[in-house]
Amino acid sequence: MTFGKLATGLAAALALAALPAQAASVKIGFVTTLTTPAGVIGKDMQDAFNLALEDIGGRMGGLDVEVIYEDDGFKPEIGKQKTDKLVQKDNVDFVAGYIWSNVLLASQKSVLDAGKFLISANAGPSQLAGKQCHENFFATSWQNDQTPMAMGEVLNQRGVKSLYVIAPNYAAGKNMVAGVERSFRGEIVGKDLTKWPGQLDFSAELAKARASKADGVFIFYPGKAGGAFMKQYQQAGLNGQIPLYSVFTVDSLSLPLFQEGKLEGVMGSFMTQFWAPDLDVPQNRKFVEGFRKKYGRYPSFYAAQSYDAMFLIKSAVDAVNGDLTDADGMRAAMEKADFPSVRGPFKFGNNHFPIQNFYLREVVADADGNWTTATRGVVYRDHQDPYAKDCKM
């Protein structure tokens, strides 16, 4: 009987769980999306985290490092369950990862209530940057509003007077729109929020954008929706008619697909980002070269943030010489941001989000003909997110 077997399995698992926690290693839980089409992103993060583990020789603070990966299935509830498992059953010391704001928000309480450290390697919801900031929460990425704010600044510099905005109708999408509205000084002539994640056909929105005769179109479409959008932009003949400005849409994961799909229109389009594969920082050269050598492709920004997460954790464990009970010591060490980062030296703000530069990037072909992005200047220097002032820390 299936049920009988399951019961036996449960009993066996319980026996294992009952063993006392071993302190001879650092346990890191890593929650990301490994299934569903968004699994591409999770894979990139996992690859980078594994690479970082190799690069530190699998040890920190004199202890072995053990990483446990969990798949959130693109669903907040599953993410929360997996986080519970990491905290309650596997008894990890750090939980890192998290692509999606909603998964991070659902899961954070489990980690923080248990007194463990939580490190976001991507999601940067405004709640955690502002009122609900927490002493044990750190981000190696950015706050959602920052990147589109930098794009708004670029638009100002380039003399764009009117803008049409298209983004998915979910929290991060709305954060992105709010971000660009914050810094863009021209007029927003139209705005569409599309169904997420289901809607991939943007015919109606593109027709409206064309009719608006705006100077530019701003979009945010992470994952597969980005490819669909770019393609339809080209098919609608909008390339060359209205310049396209994007955030988190064109990255190392989508560029090979664009190249395969012959989306020439994406070449020369602009985006902003805190990091770039060609950023001339020693740690970044090591990371990008190592990643390309090991996996045969360019790392994405998701990968860069994950790579940094490992080094941030290492700086904490090194500082207390492997005494994982010294939470205050580890926190103090992390607050200094004293580790080699792929973005170069940076500081953490009071809310534990990075105060960092944002760069303008353009899509180009590299020497081998692979599509990638090249840095075209600094938009913001040492930029702090607008929610930090709400954080009482």
């Binding site: 929020l193 056909d201 109606a204 027709a207 669909a228």
Partner: protein, 308 residues
């Protein structure tokens, strides 16, 4: 708002409608004749798209890709019918929903293992990849025009098949009274397999038509499955004519909602409130349509004649 924009959005809605019709045609036949709820119809849409992407990759031509993928997805459909679904016809709807839900999980995972999680893009030949000016100052994507043409051609062919041929007569008879057709000595098993294969090919074709626009990816079937169900329920289960009209209705309502609802709501409430309410309402629009239609006509708009 200009008249050209209105016309363009009308075309967009029409184009969405014909893709929905390709999906719904097979679904409504299977539903109407075999009384079978098949949630896995969306998987055939996805498989069609992915196969087409692969064949396009091999042959370097989208047209060849479609021509090769069509028989392939027909074969997949027939295989699914013979292996899994045949035993389900006599079961109740509950069993059918659950078992085909299981098929969705299976196919999604299988395709992810075969094609990888990122899916595939389908490059279009140059002559299809741009837009043409259909009216002065109104360019429209060439490929979307082709989709409309293909959709209408298939609709016409189906109409001919159902109304003018012997197979069509059996199909119509089956939709009205299944038992009677069997009693008249028709090989019901073969007829069912044939209809299912046809439905699978149509769903696959819908996927192939959509793929160059939205890319072929895992899980793409689920986002169109529910609207397709809305179409057949609104149209009246088993009715091809109902499916056609309802598909265009759903396509137009969805597109027009996305296009003009914010302007419309902006006239009665503040612009910011309209910006928030419009996407929500337009996402719900087709479900509201369905609830309203079923409330007043519990059998849909065009239920087949003589159906219980």
């Amino acid at each position: 708002m200009t008249w050209t924009l209105l016309l363009e959005q009308f075309l967009n809605g029409f184009q969405l409608g014909v893709v929905l019709f390709l999906m719904a045609a097979g679904l409504t036949l299977v539903f109407g004749i075999m009384d079978m709820v098949n949630l896995a119809h969306g998987s055939l849409y996805m498989i069609g798209a992915l196969l087409c992407a692969t064949f396009t990759d091999w042959t370097g031509s989208f047209i060849l890709g479609v021509l090769l993928a069509l028989p392939a997805v027909l074969a997949v459909g027939i295989a699914v019918e013979v292996v899994a679904l045949r035993t389900l016809y006599r079961r109740d709807h509950l069993d059918q929903v659950l078992a085909t839900f299981g098929l969705i999980l299976f196919f999604n995972e299988l395709c992810r293992i075969i094609w990888g999680p990122e899916g595939m893009a389908i490059p279009l030949p140059g002559w299809l990849d741009g837009s043409i000016e259909i009216l002065p100052g109104m360019p429209y994507p060439t490929y979307r025009l082709l989709v409309i043409a293909v959709g209408l051609a298939v609709a016409a062919a189906l109409y001919w098949l159902v109304v003018r041929t012997r197979t069509g007569m059996l199909i119509r008879a089956g939709a009205s009274n299944r038992t009677m057709v069997g009693a008249l000595g028709v090989n019901i098993g073969l007829l069912f397999t044939l209809i299912f294969g046809l439905g699978a090919a149509l769903a696959g074709l819908a996927g192939m038509m959509a793929a160059p626009i939205v890319q072929a990816n895992i899980g793409m079937g689920e986002s169109i499955l529910i609207p397709a169900f809305v179409v057949i329920v609104v149209g009246g289960i088993g009715s091809i004519r109902g499916a056609f009209i309802a598909a265009l209705l759903v396509g137009l309502i969805d597109t027009m909602g996305r296009s003009f609802l914010d302007l419309l709501l902006g006239t009665v409430m503040s612009v910011t409130a309209a910006e928030t309410a419009a996407p929500a309402l337009s996402a719900m629009a087709i479900y509201i349509l369905m609830a309203v239609v079923l409330f007043f006509r519990p059998q849909g708009l065009f239920p087949p004649q003589g159906r219980r």
